[in-house]
Assembly symmetry: C2
Homo-oligomer: 138 residues x 2
Amino acid sequence: MASDDRDEAEILAANEAFYAAFAAGDYLAMEGLWAEDLPVSCIHPGWPPVRGREKVMQTWKGILAKPPRPPISAMEATATKAGDAWLVTCFEAIGELYLSASNLFVREGGLWRLVHHQSGESAQAPKIMQNQSSKAIH
Amino acid sequence: MASDDRDEAEILAANEAFYAAFAAGDYLAMEGLWAEDLPVSCIHPGWPPVRGREKVMQTWKGILAKPPRPPISAMEATATKAGDAWLVTCFEAIGELYLSASNLFVREGGLWRLVHHQSGESAQAPKIMQNQSSKAIH
């Protein structure tokens, strides 16, 4: 497998791990997914930018104490290289609520770790859900 | 000036150029700010992820045909290194409406170019505006 393909597979797995930790409300797993030495930042839906590991992890502690129900999951995740960082763009599904997200990963200590996450509500559902609902109607 | 400091100054200037093009509705300037060869993506407020230069630039053509009034500007822009990419997080101010944004830059052809932008409404104003309004009240 070419190096980029392997990286892409690892990034998408790290992105899945992020949403698994989010859905499970697993703060320790979430903490382990974020870079420790590199600068990190986070923009939650409706939030101002939060910068610095300590403040970012504080926000996650609050959010993961009561994770969204139904559980959040990623859809249509797509990874692209940005220099030697990788960006994942995806939908986030919480039941029938959809958000659009950017997750930025950088390799740190041999692992791909999050350095940034932004999420905001999407007025449009993922294509696969639009198709399903149109099938349901017709 | 150390290399990182020079890069940071260039990134913040590129970020300013992005908002100047946005405010002016200058599509050609906007087009020149986005990477040509690297994969690009964009998540406008309330939008699903848009991927690929052609589609992303189409969205900008539509948006810049009628740019926001009062003109958009960036506040509290902060640049951090993410591998050899750079991420800017900032507020976007449109009059008294505030949004939070992520802008990802990668060097391409000797210039720092945008490979990703996400913006979403912020329920909280930048600190400097909160201070101003609290001064106005007391």
